[in-house]
């Protein structure tokens, strides 16, 4: 599966409301700080998680989306990882199996890591550099390595290398001794620590996991290991006895077991979370739907509710290669005319959505707040839009076709866009595409129409390097699996992307991404619409819960009173 699919999965998760999710590092200033009054999580008990869809794969080399990444944290350890969900900067990358972050060589092409002591698999075998190397090299297997593409894109594997089972040893990862591992890159990649925090960069015993071996059972390196797995209905995790808490700075692993209840209707999940009966008081779930919002306004439920900021931007891509959006004035006119307040209401109102005027959302490092196309109350400025259209020679208005997917929220957003653009004599024709083929269709330039409403989530939030380049680097436009929906190709922007990528995830690069965001929005290749927050209602007995719309840190969640439920 391609990267497009992976990202689409994330987009479906976060933008498409359904979602397993319940995922991600919180860390917003406005949230009710995890659990209630003082009594933090205690050791023991079973935490339940209610979700609609199954996790994509147990094998981290295959799965790659917000929901499953959160799950992998419980079972697997990598050299580096995203830090604890309650940290001041939950986007930061810290060392996990390694004693510290990587040490790059002078030329940035060689990265060296040293392993900690007391790290074991769930069968008691120690984890050495050879196992880390073996696990990572699985990413090149043509059948298994369908997860995160970053390892393959960044590490300098020999031409035609196809993983440990087909080709064998990967010479560009060296293991001089049991504790040291050295990576050779294709070209300097300052954010290599982020690459190794991806779910597929985890150790496995040498020779294990060939073919479908890890489809139903796996070898864990984290605090939990698989107890039972019934695809589409339940996953149960129990403690990995060989995991040493002292060797892990982030994972707390309070509960003795995890019980994932899968295949429950979203409306039923909301009902059960509100009722909170029996074991449901020990449960967490995905974000609530907008119809449920009115029911959690009681003081008791308000105390439980936690708002998590959006990591994804919902936007309308404007195809810059086609009439009428080949004219920057028309694109700007659309940006002026959109009534973002009504799009916000269509997305569930002020509690469930914020108004987006930038490409990078505030939760992602590299965000800069600006609004190049302001209007009073964000209600759109059709007059200004008409002026711009007249200037562009479209006195009688323009019309275009907007691709949307069969999803209630996406349709409501599209109708809000349609209605607000009509006031500026812009006629929008909605083209509803089945959700299962929507992302594939709009990512194929020969099939996409003039515009499409979709969303984008970063692969890591510690920098905008997985936000702006995939969407706006003109050199990334492809015939299939194209993420640059606007087909925006600007030499100045391309050059600037290279310059900022070379800086790595530094404070300077964060500022630079923000500046570039504004620079791109001047050409208006997209119209940012909304930032869809998540509201989560955990069970009464849950503590240490910092939900996120990107990836919830499940490893710090626990029960206030493990004897309950």
């Amino acid at each position: 599966m391609s990267r497009l699919f992976r990202n689409s999965m994330v987009a479906i998760l976060a933008v498409g409301v359904t979602a397993l999710a319940g995922c991600g590092a919180g860390g917003s200033t406005d949230q009710n700080a995890g659990a209630g009054e003082g009594d933090g999580p205690q050791k023991g008990g079973t935490v339940h998680m209610l979700q609609n869809t199954d996790f994509s794969y147990l094998d981290p080399a295959r799965g790659w989306d917000g929901g499953v990444n959160a799950f992998y944290r419980l079972m697997y350890r990598g050299l580096t990882m995203q830090t604890s969900g309650d940290a001041e900067d939950p986007n930061a990358i810290v060392a996990d199996l390694a004693t510290g972050l990587g040490e790059p060589s002078e030329d940035g092409l060689t990265w060296t890591y040293t392993l900690k002591d007391d790290i074991f698999f769930d069968n008691g075998d120690p984890i050495t550099s050879a196992e880390v190397k073996f696990g990572i090299s699985r990413a090149w297997d043509p059948q298994i390595g369908i997860g995160s593409p970053y390892l393959k894109n960044v590490i300098d594997a020999p031409e035609g290398y196809e993983g440990p089972y087909v080709t064998g040893d990967l010479p560009t990862i060296e293991t001089p001794d049991e504790k040291t591992i050295v990576f050779h890159l294709k070209q300097p990649y300052p954010e290599f620590d982020n690459v190794l925090s991806q779910a597929n960069a985890v150790p496995f015993p040498e020779g294990s996991g060939a073919g479908d071996e890890f489809i139903k059972d796996v070898i864990a390196s984290g605090p939990y290991t698989l107890d039972s797995y019934t695809p589409g209905s339940s996953i149960k995790l129990v403690r990995n006895e060989f995991w040493e808490p002292e060797s892990d700075d982030v994972r707390k692993a309070y509960p003795d077991a995890w019980d994932f209840e899968i295949g429950i209707d979203p409306a039923t999940i909301d009902e059960r979370m509100i009722a909170g009966q029996g074991s449901d008081q020990n449960a967490i779930a995905s974000k609530i739907s907008s119809a449920t919002l009115a029911r959690i306004q009681t003081p008791e439920l308000q105390e439980r509710a936690i708002t998590a900021p959006a990591y994804c931007t919902t936007y309308m891509g404007l195809n810059t290669t086609k009439e009428p959006f080949d004219d920057v004035l028309v694109r700007q006119a659309v940006n002026y005319a959109i009534d973002r307040a009504s799009v916000q209401n269509a997305s569930g109102g002020t509690q469930l959505a914020d108004i987006a005027t930038t490409i990078v959302p505030p939760a992602v490092t590299g965000h800069k707040q600006f609004d190049l196309y302001p209007s009073e109350g964000n209600a759109g400025d059709p007059e200004k839009a008409k002026e711009l259209l007249a200037e562009a020679g479209h006195e009688d208005g323009v019309s275009f076709t907007l691709d949307i997917r069969t999803n209630p929220v996406a349709q409501a957003q599209a109708e809000a866009v349609q209605e607000s653009l009509a006031k500026a004599d812009i006629d929008v024709k909605l083209n509803v595409i089945d959700a299962s083929i929507f992302y594939e269709t709009i990512a194929t330039p020969s099939q996409q129409h003039d515009a499409a409403i979709t969303g984008w989530c970063p692969d890591w939030a510690s920098s905008a390097s997985t936000f702006i380049p995939p969407l706006f680097d003109g050199r990334n436009i492809t015939d299939r699996g194209n993420q640059n929906l606007a087909q925006f190709d600007d030499d100045a922007v391309n050059t600037r992307i290279d310059e900022i990528m070379a800086m790595g995830a530094t404070p300077e690069s964060a500022d630079a991404w923000g500046e570039l965001d504004e620079q791109i929005m001047e050409s208006a290749p997209i119209a940012p619409l909304a930032l869809e927050n998540g509201i989560f209602v955990p069970g009464e007995n849950i503590a240490g819960y910092y939900p996120s719309t990107s990836m919830t840190d499940l490893t710090i969640v626990g029960l206030k009173d493990p004897s309950k439920g």
């Binding site: 409306a267 919002l293 009115a294 009504s342 209401n345 269509a346 569930g348 209630p408 109708e415």
Partner: protein, 323 residues
């Protein structure tokens, strides 16, 4: 889909013996039929509601001008952005401004959308009825009258279509075809699967009618096939066709609403009752009026057509027995 009971088929075929006498019985029968109809309370109430909906559909733009809100107009002041964009006020935001309240999320006027939704429901249901009736009568008569190979081919085609899982196939066709003009597509698709039900009954009645003495007489006096079909057989099928058509409409109203509910109906933002019910479903607990109003209108329309068809059948039967 409804099928006509054998007793009706028998009764109408039966009654037609009397019309052998000639033309002068027809106007008298019509008057008697009409008199029975206007004194029948359920039939009149149903007809009244249908008429009301028809007028609403035809004059939708005028009615909406009166009520003040168009079907696509957003009213951001009628919804509460801080509360999941639910309507402000009780009963889904019902007020002098918005008679039936507003939709959550965008504040569109439900009254206007009901009125415009009636257009879709009635256009699709009535057009499909006309189309299936024409197809059913023509094809059924052809099969019944000519018999032999023609009958064999047509009968097999009808059996083929009736054995099809129609709803599943309709969903498949509608989601595969481009959504340019869904109303026309809906009519065509519903008609393709609808006509055999009427055609079968028309065929069987034609089969028995063509053996009757008055047909024999017409044939003996040198009438052409066309003359026999249109002057002798068709008039005797009248009551069957009327009753069958009236009973088919509620089925098509329901099918259209069902297809819209499943997301293969008219393209948003065009309102349709089925679509409104679908989008109201998640709000059943917090905004029940949003669900109840389109549901009630759909229920009443289907019930009215069903009652009307049923009463028509009863009146026709009674009249024929007496005649």
């Amino acid at each position: 889909m409804t099928s006509v009971s054998p007793d009706l088929a028998a009764a109408s075929a039966h009654g037609d013996d009397s019309s052998l006498a000639g033309d002068q019985s027809s106007p008298r029968a019509a008057t008697r039929f009409l008199r029975a109809f206007v004194t029948d309370v359920p039939a009149m109430l149903s007809a009244l509601y249908i008429l009301l909906m028809l007028l609403a559909a035809i004059f939708a733009p005028l009615i909406v001008k009166l009520s003040g809100w168009g079907p696509y107009e957003f009213d951001q002041t009628a919804i509460d952005p801080n509360l999941g964009a639910l309507p402000r006020g009780d009963f889904g935001g019902m007020s002098g401004e918005h008679w039936f309240g507003v939709e959550p999320g965008n504040g569109r006027d439900i009254f206007a959308r009901i009125v415009y939704g009636a257009r879709v429901s009635l256009t699709v249901a009535l057009s499909a009825t006309v189309l299936t009736t024409v197809l059913g009568v023509v094809i059924g008569m052809l099969a019944g009258y000519f018999g032999g190979k023609v009958d064999a081919i047509i009968s097999r085609a009808m059996e083929f279509l009736m054995a099809f899982p129609a709803l599943i196939f309709m969903i498949a066709i509608l989601s595969a075809l481009p959504a340019d003009n869904r109303v026309v597509l809906l009519i065509v698709v519903i008609s393709i699967f609808g006509w055999p039900y009427l055609a079968r009954i028309v065929r069987s009645q034609t089969l028995s009618l063509k053996e009757r003495e008055f047909v024999e007489a017409a044939r003996a006096s040198g009438a052409t096939h066309a003359q026999i079909i249109f002057r002798e057989i068709l008039p005797n099928l009248q009551s069957t066709i009327i009753v069958m058509a009236a009973l088919a409409v509620p089925g098509y109203v329901g099918t259209e609403a069902g297809l819209s509910f499943l997301g293969v109906g008219v393209v948003p933002p065009t309102p349709s009752w089925g679509q409104m019910i679908a989008s109201a479903a998640p709000y059943y607990a917090v905004d029940p009026m949003y669900f109840i109003i389109p549901g009630l209108f759909l229920f009443l329309l289907v019930m009215s057509f069903t009652t009307l068809g049923d009463r028509l059948r009863a009146i026709a039967n009674a009249g024929e027995v007496r005649g």
